[in-house]
């Protein structure tokens, strides 16, 4: 059965800290891996990764995919209280159905 596992489940840090969130997957016929940030309501898109070893970067956030070891990490440097959210990882298989498989998320709390 296809699955996506995120770790840690929750994390509390202080402003200025650097955090690394993990996403491992077991999916038949991998197509792409996506990261989302979910605050109060809807998830917002952060990154999509399809190729191994190529880092995607946006400001203080960056992400990389390892297709051999079947995982991805999301790094956040110099964290701010506004980074507090649930970070979701999702994998899209190539089955043609466009059915995304989501992990349970990592709940990040950044203290001032």
């Amino acid at each position: 059965e296809d699955k996506v596992v995120q770790s840690p489940l929750s994390l509390v840090v202080h402003e200025g800290d650097t955090v690394t969130l993990n996403c491992s997957y077991e999916v038949t016929n991998f197509r792409s891996l996506l990261w989302y940030k979910q605050e109060k309501k809807a998830p917002t898109f952060l990154f999509m990764l399809t190729s191994s070893g190529i880092e995607k970067k946006s400001g203080r956030l960056s992400s990389i995919l390892d297709k051999k070891e079947l995982f991805s990490i999301l790094n956040i440097t110099a964290t701010q209280t506004g980074d507090s959210a649930v970070y979701l990882c999702a994998v899209l298989p190539t089955s043609g159905t466009y059915k995304y498989i989501f992990g349970t998320g990592t709940r990040l709390k950044v203290l001032a």
């Binding site: 309501k41 999509m48 159905t97 466009y98 059915k99 349970t104």
Partner: protein, 112 residues
């Protein structure tokens, strides 16, 4: 910025009522999705659509139904609401041949 809308945002209804949750997007996306998410839990796909007159059930068994008569509109209907339907319902859409999904703000449903 993604333009995907859901109404109502909050709904409290009694057991046995019929309800329709509305979802509309103005991006012309062919693919649309309904997810159910309980607090602190992962998103579960309950319905998806590849285009007009195309609907499929997702992985999570659901007593709801959907329709896709117009590209921009993907309503979800519960014929007879039960307390077990209490949850957050998220609608999403995605572009053809692209991976990222855009989510609506969600409907938080409480069935008493």
């Amino acid at each position: 910025e993604a333009d995907i809308y859901q109404t109502p945002r909050y709904l409290v209804i009694g057991t046995g009522k019929k309800i329709t949750l509305e979802c509309s997007q103005t991006m012309g996306h062919d693919k649309m999705y309904w997810y159910q998410q309980d607090p602190g839990m992962e998103l579960h796909l309950i319905h998806y659509s590849y285009g007009v007159n195309s609907t499929e059930k997702g992985d999570l068994s659901s007593e709801s139904t959907v329709s896709r008569i117009r590209t921009e509109h993907f309503p979800l209907t519960l014929e007879s609401a039960r307390p077990s339907h209490t949850s957050q319902y998220l609608c999403a859409s995605s572009e053809p041949h692209r991976g990222e999904q855009y989510f609506g703000p969600g409907t938080r449903l409480t069935v008493t």
